[in-house]
Symmetry: C2
Subunit: 191 residues, 2 copies
DNA sequence: TTGACTTAACTAATGCCATTAGTTAAAATT
DNA sequence: AATTTTAACTAATGGCATTAGTTAAGTCAA
């Protein structure tokens, strides 16, 4: 048999296809074999574009973090300044719901300390830090607050995705409740 | 070659060995092959005790949830009534740090809706609900509060384990900060 | 005690996966 | 037009889970 033409494939479509695969079949089904099938090539050919499965997962993580950042920027734009934090939270959770596989990829990079991954992530920290400006916190307090917010929202998404919430109770109400409670506690700190 | 005697192995040691493996090498290294090596048997022999890899992971999840419950009960005992929630949080995080692999197994059961898994988990919800009694919340509010607390603490553990917190700032202080902020927000609700 | 049954180990084989090595032809460059 | 680079390919290896079939140790009833 003859090798196929070289035109079709570029990094962009590879990652996009992988992201699609992740969201449709789950992050666990992101394999070189499955991805190759969707791209109509053989899996060893992927090594011409990506540094094995770990390399693919790293790229997918960065792609996901960047898209999440975009989603947060959009959420920030489209809502009033008053409830920025709630808007951000809803935007974050909305992204995780719409892109469960990509969201999972986001914090499953093979090496989280990789500088590219780290850099993508710190842009998000910056954005949240900025949105917290109105609360007039000390520098350290603000960093603790960002960590808290991330923990709260990421924990919510993670538990929601893994089916950790068994009860018959609105998830969206839980989300508003916990974000508002947390922010109320933060606000009370100013006194 | 001859099959080996039947005396040695029981379910208890299998799960304990798997838990040890998880904590030493990571949850991702919990494979039938690795577990069999540690038990000095061949991997197909494990099928006499466990329903394949998914069955093993289910058992490990239940084991982990039950141990986490124990850790929380201990934490509750050993601290004053005043800061039960902070004590619980510290106990929870302490368990996750001491048993990272088992903790990860805890929310990676193959089927989270499985009733055994669900039951083990709802014991924890009950314990936390109970500890929240002092705050005098409405029933629904209390459930939202439990979800919030779980999200907060699980999110913290998850991000800590995955290296999600890059900054040079005390993690323990972040933990106290976020738990206290959240609980202050909850307490403010009574008015 | 002996014989039948059950059980928990085994070996062998299958299929899927990632990965490496080596090949080939299309595309790009000189 | 010739050469180089590139991106596909096939073939092969080793690790994994899993299934099927085998065997001998342990259990238990006659």
């Amino acid at each position: 048999m003859s090798p196929r033409p070289k035109t079709s494939l570029d990094m962009e479509t590879i990652i996009r296809t992988a992201a699609d695969l992740a969201d449709r079949k789950g992050f666990g089904d992101v394999t070189l074999a499955n991805l190759a099938k969707e791209l109509n090539i053989k899996s060893p050919s992927l090594y011409n574009h990506v540094d094995g499965l770990p390399g693919l997962k790293k790229q997918l993580a960065i792609y996901g973090i960047n898209n999440l950042y975009q989603a947060l920027e959009d959420a920030k734009e489209n809502f009033s300044k008053k409830d920025v934090v709630l808007a951000l939270s809803i935007g974050y959770v909305g992204f995780a719901r719409k892109h469960p596989g990509v969201y999972e990829a986001t914090f499953n990079a093979p090496d989280p300390s990789d500088s590219e991954v780290q850099d993508a992530g710190s842009k998000i920290v910056g954005l949240v830090l900025d949105s917290l400006g109105a609360f007039g916190l000390e520098k350290e307090e603000a960093l603790h607050a960002v960590r808290g917010l991330r923990s709260l929202i990421h924990g919510f998404c993670s538990l929601e995705q893994k089916g950790g919430f068994g009860l018959n109770l609105s998830l969206n109400e839980s989300l508003s409740f916990m974000v508002e409670a947390f922010m109320a506690g933060i606000a009370a700190r100013r006194c």
